[in-house]
Point group: D2
Chain length 368, copies 4
Amino acid sequence: MNGNSIGKALVLTCFGESHGPCVGAVIDGCPAGLPLSVEDVQTELNKRKPGLTGISTPRKEEDQVEILSGVFNGHTAGAPICLIVRNKDVESEVYEQIKNKPRPGHADYVAYLKYGGFGDFRGGGRFSGRVTATYTMAGAIAKKLLRFIGIGVLAHTVQIGKVKIPKNVTYNQIRENVYGNSVRCAVPESAVLMEKEILKAAEEGDSLGGVVEGVALNIPAGLGEPIFDSLDSDIAKMLFNIPAVKGVEFGAGFQVASLKGSENNDKYIIRKGKVVSQTNNAGGILGGISTGMPIVLRVAFKPTSSIAKRQKTVDLTKMEETEIELAGRHDPCVVPRAVPVVESCLAFVLADHAIRTGKIPHVLETKK
Amino acid sequence: MNGNSIGKALVLTCFGESHGPCVGAVIDGCPAGLPLSVEDVQTELNKRKPGLTGISTPRKEEDQVEILSGVFNGHTAGAPICLIVRNKDVESEVYEQIKNKPRPGHADYVAYLKYGGFGDFRGGGRFSGRVTATYTMAGAIAKKLLRFIGIGVLAHTVQIGKVKIPKNVTYNQIRENVYGNSVRCAVPESAVLMEKEILKAAEEGDSLGGVVEGVALNIPAGLGEPIFDSLDSDIAKMLFNIPAVKGVEFGAGFQVASLKGSENNDKYIIRKGKVVSQTNNAGGILGGISTGMPIVLRVAFKPTSSIAKRQKTVDLTKMEETEIELAGRHDPCVVPRAVPVVESCLAFVLADHAIRTGKIPHVLETKK
Amino acid sequence: MNGNSIGKALVLTCFGESHGPCVGAVIDGCPAGLPLSVEDVQTELNKRKPGLTGISTPRKEEDQVEILSGVFNGHTAGAPICLIVRNKDVESEVYEQIKNKPRPGHADYVAYLKYGGFGDFRGGGRFSGRVTATYTMAGAIAKKLLRFIGIGVLAHTVQIGKVKIPKNVTYNQIRENVYGNSVRCAVPESAVLMEKEILKAAEEGDSLGGVVEGVALNIPAGLGEPIFDSLDSDIAKMLFNIPAVKGVEFGAGFQVASLKGSENNDKYIIRKGKVVSQTNNAGGILGGISTGMPIVLRVAFKPTSSIAKRQKTVDLTKMEETEIELAGRHDPCVVPRAVPVVESCLAFVLADHAIRTGKIPHVLETKK
Amino acid sequence: MNGNSIGKALVLTCFGESHGPCVGAVIDGCPAGLPLSVEDVQTELNKRKPGLTGISTPRKEEDQVEILSGVFNGHTAGAPICLIVRNKDVESEVYEQIKNKPRPGHADYVAYLKYGGFGDFRGGGRFSGRVTATYTMAGAIAKKLLRFIGIGVLAHTVQIGKVKIPKNVTYNQIRENVYGNSVRCAVPESAVLMEKEILKAAEEGDSLGGVVEGVALNIPAGLGEPIFDSLDSDIAKMLFNIPAVKGVEFGAGFQVASLKGSENNDKYIIRKGKVVSQTNNAGGILGGISTGMPIVLRVAFKPTSSIAKRQKTVDLTKMEETEIELAGRHDPCVVPRAVPVVESCLAFVLADHAIRTGKIPHVLETKK
């Protein structure tokens, strides 16, 4: 039943259910001496807040972070940091019907089997997207650690439903535009089309999926511990723990299958006295180790499982086929809110490996 | 530097370099009482043997497995099982040139940086595809464990270069055809086209990538330990540790991004008194837990990095741009040999989780 | 910096500082379906409460447990359980002097070095005996799990200062007497002497150590995973994480050094159709595996480091020798309060191994 | 069934049975660039070789180490190092009788239960003291790593049977004398008495236990990761995995129970501009962290379970009481051969923590 911790040098332990008292994270292994305030974490949490834009769930959560341990005099103390967010605006009644009628596309049915009916089913319980608030809190700390060694992490929406961005956005475009529109897209014109697409699906009582790209810049070469703690495998593992993710690819990704070696190989050249590669089909990782080129990955999100449309399901007590119509409050598309979560997950794994390889020291500065 | 173990209940520790004395695996956590012979492992190893078909590397390895521990009187003893394969047909001389001239697409350069020049570079050393022989040995044991509870694991080539199989192969087609042709394809007509494609690339001194599909049948519901040891995240982590993998997707995979919720949700129905789903876009996993439907996943392989064509690179001692032409013996396409490796990796993770959840007992039968 | 989790099937992650907002525990891997209430945990916590008896610290903590996650409808849900206890009666001012003058026998100085001066030093921070409240909370759950399979765990004081109990107490004596006196001793007459000893030391501004014996009854044979997760090594590891522990021994312990093999070997006999041993010098563990005989161990506690007497120390800012006189509120002897902690630690490791070997199932009963 | 790996930064995975093909160790996480030869390991292995002195088992093992991976051009390569020692002089026939008649004091009976009769019982199989050859091989590497940062590790026999050394040996005495006599004792006069004691016990067909002291010098302050990976708890865990160990204590150990705080506290003073403590009752560890003072610990070993005397046991097939007389070849006292094993175990844990805290870098020197 265990399995709620991840990371080797920086370890995230996550707890809490959607409609329980809170969701929380214990971050163990954070170096001492990192300046850390409630605001630092709150800023990141706010990026995934529900109820912001009219295209996401009307559930209003303040999502106010509380630091329970590990921070002393405004700095991390070298002790485990526990952060929680209380659950406030919960409507548990509407979930009574799913107790015996599993929602298609959700984990209700398998959770029922696995936990013998004892699992907290309200709002999806432990399987709610709400757990990603804890990834974001951990990500807030990870990002501050990475900035200490100059690494920047970005993410942006590259596809929602059938709308894709036109190719080639620069890192600056991402930085400048991504939080300027409701769909977290680096191309403002595409953002408009994506919003429309979501609103249309919402009107139909339906939902949309999409693709988020994650990028990490200024990465030192050498992160990743092959064979089995290779950087890509650890990043992929973390990303597949975001609910709704069905695919992860690095660099040229699935396209690589139809390239020839002579096309796909990133040739080495020298620029400004440094070895770099002409292209980056590898997405910044070779042999499970960061090359120093930007890490580039894409994550496929399925459309929100909760839809307003009537759907077939079964009644588990009567063991007969029936239908279900969901009245709860849901995002017609989780992709925009997933953007900061992808950022956080990528940052967390990079910080874990940066500590593990000694690129981030155990004490960030000696106190006077 | 550590990171060469994977799994929680069934743990694989892997060692050995391409041109060292051997490659080996320690499998810890295998229940006692499983009948296990050298032949059981050898059969699986033979599936990925090089030099079989004219379309793979001319390197001739006997790949004869040796059991060093953990097996007593023809059964597993409840102790760690160490299996090794000696390296015999090694031509290390041709690798002298890569010492200072990293091969594009390979891990040479990052390994050089990470291990301070101490790494064994011969044949890619620790980064050689040869390490997957150890995954296959572990997979041989995992498959036998899974058969004990009726689980079957299959894999097959669905794409090589630009040749894809036409849709919809049955599990029987995979079972019957996949090891009947050199490219491990379930569709004989596609196999012919794929072979041609590889031979053509080989003639050009070039290489091809492709996609392998993995399938697991008769899976009990309930495998996987969310949040962080979810079944898909653990399978993905294992698969990304196969050299050359650049993408992993489950069920509808990246296509899911352009589906609507009403299209993508797998509706529950009752068939023969059991709850099943009408479709399997989830690929057999919801909320990180197996649903009981077949697990279906696809893995993207990049074209072999080693090609005969002259390529740009840098001389690390002189820090100047140069070129490299590789004389070594390489597969023009690793995909066919990756098929048993994908099978093994999938089997390994399933066996780990089946033990972890108690579906496979700690002692398989009581000895008289 | 990480290292705040322990256990493999049942995992305890611990956070919080003595004078921070709270101390807390995340218990991951607890089977679903265990009835669990605030009272269950509170009862155990109360056993180690400070301020009970006049022989312990006057610090008054309500030590009221709060369940933040993992319990639903009065049962464990199969999700991680977070339990916290708020810190209320803190007097942090008196700790200002130790900031630069490390207290002899405490971790102040090494913590200062290790965490670069960023560690929370108030009340010993992370090194306070207060963290054992989290062991006790985890122990409360572990004990309930063990009772499910009939295992009972006891502990009692066998020595305080120079007062030892006369030999041979029965398990019933422990059960009946241990919480009936302030020193948690199974022999009432010894308890009186021990109390006197403590009061005398307290009057002198000094402190005492002692020895606690832990016992586990009705243990199934087969717990423990050699070589490295042997039952004794895992129990010892857990016990050495209780502050002030300097020695751990099993069965005949250090006495074994002067016994002959013929004296020490526990001979097998048959009683009521079962194989048992005539003696239990092994303390219930052979080859790292439980034999089915009672597990018996002893833990040596050093005298409380905080004493009222003036002591030599150094001023770290001036790098000169000085003296320190501690005004804080401390137990003159931690041994009595350590009794429930030893119980909890022993219970935790046994529950971890009982789950790991499948003796405790993943779901405790199927819900109707 | 798993549990054959230990360590977090430096990980030892151990395999092999007493009468199988070999015993072996995989050491994962060793920094690249450490000069390492077969001789380096052989030297350490030779210290625990059987058959040396007339007071140990007549079993003659060459114990010739073979390096299977991880070493390249005379240096560690940053890859896992696999070392094996073949088993040569095995007499398995004599073990037929113990198949159904468990030897008192051995793990035979619990192993039989745990592994359902499938375990390799010959020579104790996985429970043989022979597995400590793998600890010694790992220790050889650990000691070389520690020497890189100036740490020295020693061990010596302080008690055999009822013979104890007179107090106060210096580190130089240990260094000079310990391998100069057959019982690994730093006091030559005591060594003579101890030898006699062993020979007497051997003549009687009996066996003796004893106590080994381990010491580590020139330790940097700051090793250890509290709460749960504290240095003492990790060392204790490792030591309890040596067969026959029944107790572990640090510094003043069990004596601490009868000391007062004012006697036990190690006062800080300044010597040569450095903070040190006047005494070392803590044994070099406070709060689970190394203080910089020498680490001092003692380990209690029980008398060898295998004795020539006839002993009571049971016949498991007939479920009746019977007797057993052991004809195998055994050490009448394992303590002398345990000395290098204690050294190795202590060194291994220190090296693990030294890497983990960054005191030993990931690459030991940059290759030209």
